[in-house]
Symmetry: C2
Subunit: 750 residues, 2 copies
């Protein structure tokens, strides 16, 4: 078994000389009998690179960022080495590809968003009535050109005869839409359910889930999102739109090999697609980019940012051209408050922030807990086999209860727009601007907020596409408007009270609409723990520049309170609950351990020796063990680390050899010396990571995490004086971190 | 010399056992005779951490991010281990500090910016006249309440008698201001000169330049910025304001030890301060954050972003409350175009983008080259000893030439605001809106643009605070307005031309003001190569949401063309020219080398052995060699790597021992065994980095750079089987990268 080397030769790997260690590397082509390289020609390049060839990633494995980035650099170098005009054109073409892809992804996301807006609006209106003049028109277009105060005669509501008929029609349509959606999801694309943000975040973090961003998910999620939105369920389309945009961002770039072959590059496009998704969901291109940067992406270079910005902008422009609501504006809930806020109002705003985030059984973090508990329950209980009935039940409840209160009946975007508005010029949004009756209105708003809250908890996590942004905003806005009306009434009845000293006489002082806006931000912040991106999105949503400061302070309050009580935002909570392999930067502060306490010690590792193996022995190894990879050592005696080969690549090398009908006793090794003069041999050096990242076993774990996080490696080998002592995989790190109770983020974010 | 260990013992460091390697680490307290630890108690903590204690960073050295972050984590862990209420309060107080600091920095930056605006406006107006009713009023306040078309009688211009008197007064005041500024800079704070952005970027990248952000720089830069702006020199206040904000961000946090003691944490505050600087310079808080993220900062966590946003917002609010221009608006150059842009205009916009960036001897990159050449010339030629005369000469030229053309005479912000405006409602900005005379106006604008260009090249780099943002915007706006007028005239004279088919009859079609805005973005982009942040800043500056798309496309064009011809933006150019140790992520694509080709080989390294040294021998080593640090090996025979000790820490350990009057033959080593039973000994283990990052000598250089960049280390040791083969420092990497011609970024940014 390859005994040509002295047992004591500790320098027995392929480096011939210390003083010119690069000599071999510069001439990396392995010598084969007859000068024929049995593997394809590209292979030789990789030996210099040192990270080994990668066949492809298996499903549910993490990607090796450092390898993929190295591969990309290698590719670009090769491109630049092409001489002459052809080379220049190749470089240019390569460069253009990235821009074409993000443009196409952005435009496609805009078109899908615009189309689904139109479709869901029409279907949603059908529940309440139909257009007498043209059935294919929704209420807005049916009554086009009429003032809000006029009565539209072309639109015939189902309840024009009796209330009961309208009620029944409403429920029947809602149930039809919702169950169809659930059926489609369960039958054709189970990945289409839910918000998709936690999973997309995990994928962006380097996890491979095939089909999660596939064509069937794209189609089914788009169709079912329209249906479930139209059904009037308490859900948002923002998260699902991000997921849909990422599906587009996953499918389109694959026409170019450079993206298809490189999972790390694919994730750069996906980051851009995520920006586009938020951009079209909120009409907020800058907010989309910042959201992608802050909440979603793992690596976000300045180039990725520029591509994302372009993608988000293309999506916003496409959406604006489609103009699904015929408003000719990108600013969805444009508000124009005539009055600035007063200092005393800050107190009430902060109250909203505290409520939005409080863990005191009210909303916000409570939400997250209930949801996670429900999601866990669904995973284990009998409910998981009745998802369609479950949707049916929740939808029945939603429609039956929702119809009774105007604030739960109207579609969320319309409701939100009206809640944000100021009562000026005789407008009367759902009775919000009536004179008197404030108490009843407040009760109606509060009950709507409560009902929405319960329904949202029930809905989020059903087997249909369902986002959380819009419902949390609606709950917050309803609550905020109620508070605003209370404060307004208080001020009107006690104008002399010291708190209202800054109010001018005879001029309206309190703007309830602004409380709704601030409340929406507070509750959304409490649920998602977004920060900068939330402020920017609120700003782009409403155009209310003067309210940036209150919104900011409220988001801060909400985040601080939420952090102090709860643990993480809903998306990170789901990632933890589902055990997705996502490595968060924030958790490192608690670790007081060293690498040696986390590593799998060398005694428990199966290693491959650099020499002495045969085709059969390696094949047996793969059959007998099921590890994802194997460290390669010089010999079992000295345990000198030579490299690391992952299962997939070793499998590929063996299969390749089998395909060539090589005999089972063919020698296999890192470098097979020519001395042996065997008819054939297998050098697995090509597929081996020859320069794995190694650390001392005394390395502190928090720094090991920094290495995993920042370099994006999948494994780290612990050595001492070149000897293998242990192996740490990303999974080991995640397990270790999970075994330690998470600190409250508040304390680590200072 | 410590021959107690067998020469063949290759496992001779301090780890007793493979199977429980953490045993020693968990009991790290070195044993001293009599149980007394000669060093302070905190020391023991650091042994676990493994990166060694750090005394302080020398001037002009790079910081060790990984060490500083580890130290911070260690500190937070200690904080959390405090029991009871006192512990809770300590944690809370620690958390609050960060917010107090960014709030204070933001507010201070806003106040300084507002104050300097008021001062420079008043001084600037003094050049042209004085307020008859109250000398301390500037023109604006002197003529407060009057329409722009009215004549203001209270304001007496110097040229009210004759043109020549006004001319002479203008020049005399300008010279007075400029030379005073130059004198102050040269005498009290040489660091106050220039823009400061390249240096701040280098500092944020982890370089230590003491006093660059010191109090004297802050004071002198603020005063001289006011003077040089008032002198009417062709310079901007944006870069200097960023520098000033960073001075504040460097001085204020030092009241809290946690920032003072941790250079990495300081840089997080500096990132926030940079955001505040741009926020007050442009009235663009979001743009400030994105600028800091995109252009300035090295590491930018989501917490840093949130702190930066808060800081930028606080600065903007403070500035708004001061309201130096009494406009009650944060949007500095608010525009409200009545008309949207037309498709055909995109062609002209892109032309502006190409011109803004072109390397064809016109502007943009040409600027950079000229500037860098001039800067290099200044460094070597006799000019460097006559900086004040130089300022005098340039100022004389600026004032003498500038006074003759209205577009070069008025202060830049006023000019820019007027160039951006639409000619509606009979307004007449500097004759821009006169009927007829388009040819003359175009010539006047173009010549002003040319003159400004030459003057800016001469001014940028003088011994006074001078930014480049505003002048490049002004040049672009002048040029853009000229192009706009040309296109407008063309359209008016040939309304039937196919290009103008989309214009409606009898309605103004072309808005020259929008060309000025787009031109400003194009030229600023061409000079600085900013991308997303530039678009956001333009948007926040003007509020022109409808023009985001043209601005974006123009910035893209400008960047692409600039990248294709030139190499880098002006700030990166200066960093390269001055040889600042800034490690850019973008340059890695060209490297096809391995670590062994870059490392200083072991033969050329001076190492310290873990045993066998004495106090005197180490002292001699430090006297005889001048390296920044020394790898520690087990013995010279086996060269087994044990750790790395930097010069500063070794010096400190020796000085500490000398202070205790230890004899020169005191044994010194990594771990001194108790066997020897000497009366005293020195263990430098406490100051040693026991777990340095090691790589294989075959590691590809591009990945070594990733390690330097992402982990923020100062050195990497190359080993093979535990033996030291070489050392790579950050300087080696920078030298290696500089030795390879830089690729054009265009090709790497796809």
């Amino acid at each position: 078994m390859g005994g040509h080397r002295g047992q004591g030769d500790e320098d027995g790997d392929d480096t011939p000389d210390h003083h010119d260690p690069a000599a071999r590397s510069n001439d990396p082509s392995p010598i084969y009998p007859g000068g024929v390289n049995p593997y394809h020609d590209d292979a030789v390049d990789w030996v210099v690179e040192g990270t080994g060839m990668r066949v492809a990633y298996d499903d549910f494995t993490t990607i090796d960022w450092i390898h993929d980035f190295a591969q990309e650099r290698q590719r670009i170098r090769r491109l630049h080495h092409q001489p002459g005009l052809a080379g220049q054109i190749a470089v240019m073409y390569d460069w253009v590809q990235g821009w074409i892809v993000v443009l196409a992804v952005g435009v496609a996301a805009g078109i899908v968003a615009g189309g689904s807006d139109i479709a869901s609006q029409w279907l949603g209106d059908i529940k309440e009535g139909y257009c007498d003049t043209a059935l294919y028109l929704n209420r807005n277009f049916c009554c086009w050109g009429l003032d809000e105060t006029d009565t539209c005669t072309d639109w015939v509501p189902w309840n024009s005869a009796t209330f009961v008929v309208g009620y029944i029609f409403y429920i029947i349509f809602a149930l039809m839409f919702a169950t169809t959606a659930a059926y489609l999801v369960k039958t054709f694309a189970p990945y289409a359910e839910g918000s998709g943000i936690p999973e997309v975040k995990t994928i962006l973090g380097g996890f491979v889930i095939r089909h999660y961003l596939g064509l069937e998910t794209l189609v089914i999620k788009t169709v079912t999102l329209v249906l479930s939105t139209a059904a009037g369920l308490s859900l948002g389309k923002e998260g699902p739109l991000l997921h849909i945009a990422c599906c587009i961002g996953n499918i389109l770039p694959r026409i170019f090999p450079k993206f298809k072959k490189n999972e790390a590059r694919m994730r750069e496009i996906l980051s851009a697609a995520a920006s586009a998704g938020i951009s079209v969901a909120f009409g907020a291109p800058i907010g989309g980019v910042v959201f992608s940067l802050e909440e979603m992406s793992y690596y976000f270079s300045s180039d990725t940012m520029w591509h994302s910005f372009f993608c988000a902008m293309a999506a916003a422009v496409a959406l604006k051209l489609i103009d699904p609501f015929r408003t000719e504006k990108l600013v969805v809930f444009q508000v124009s408050y005539n009055r600035d806020w007063h200092g005393f109002e800050m107190f009430f705003y902060m109250l909203l922030g505290i409520l939005g985030a409080s863990d005191l059984g009210l909303w916000g973090a409570f939400f997250i807990r209930m949801n996670l508990r429900l999601a866990a329950f669904r995973k284990t209980s009998w409910l998981r086999i009745f998802p369609i009935y479950e949707v049916f039940a929740v939808c029945l409840l939603t429609a039956a209860v929702g119809y009774l209160n105007i604030f739960t009946r109207v579609q969320s975007p319309e409701l939100l727009a009206n809640l944000f508005r100021e009562c000026d010029g005789g407008a009367n949004y759902h009775g919000l601007c009536d004179e008197g009756g404030a108490t009843l209105r407040v009760l109606s708003l509060l009950s709507a907020s409560g009902v929405k809250g319960v329904l949202t908890i029930l809905t989020f996590g059903l087997a249909i596409p369902a986002g959380i942004f819009m419902p949390s905003m609606v709950i917050g806005a309803l609550f905020g408007r109620a508070l605003g009306i209370i404060v307004q009434s208080w001020q009107l009845s006690h104008p002399g009270f010291w708190l209202f000293a800054s109010c001018l006489p005879d001029v309206p002082c309190v703007t309830p609409g602004s409380y709704a806006m601030v409340g929406a931000a507070a509750f959304m912040g409490g649920v998602t723990r977004m920060t900068v991106s939330l402020v920017i999105i609120m700003f782009e949503l409403t155009g209310a520049l003067t309210y940036v400061l209150p919104i900011m302070i409220v988001v801060m309050t909400s985040k601080w309170v939420g952090d102090a009580f709860g643990k993480e935002g809903i998306f990170d909570g789901i990632i933890l609950l589902c055990g997705y392999p996502f490595l968060d930067d924030k958790e490192q502060y608690r670790l007081n351990t060293t690498a040696s306490q986390v590593m799998t010690p060398v005694e428990d590792i199966v290693v491959v020796t650099a020499t002495g193996n045969t085709l059969d022995s390696l094949d047996n190894l793969l059959h007998e063990t099921h590890y994802k990879g194997y460290p390669v050592v010089n010999s079992l005696r000295d345990m000198m680390l030579v490299g690391y080969i992952s299962r997939t690549e070793l499998r590929y090398a063996i299969d390749e050899a089998r395909r060539r009908n090589l005999p089972g006793n063919t020698p296999a090794g890192n470098v097979v010396p020519i001395l042996e003069n065997t008819p054939a041999f297998i050098e697995f050096r090509l597929w081996m990571d020859q320069t794995p990242i190694t650390v001392s076993h005394r390395f502190p774990m928090d720094q090991v995490i920094v290495i995993f996080r920042r370099l994006g490696v999948r494994y780290v080998l612990c050595t001492q004086h070149g000897q293998l002592l242990g192996l740490i995989t990303k999974k080991d790190v995640l397990k270790h971190m999970a075994s330690i109770e998470h600190p409250s983020e508040q304390e680590t974010s200072s």
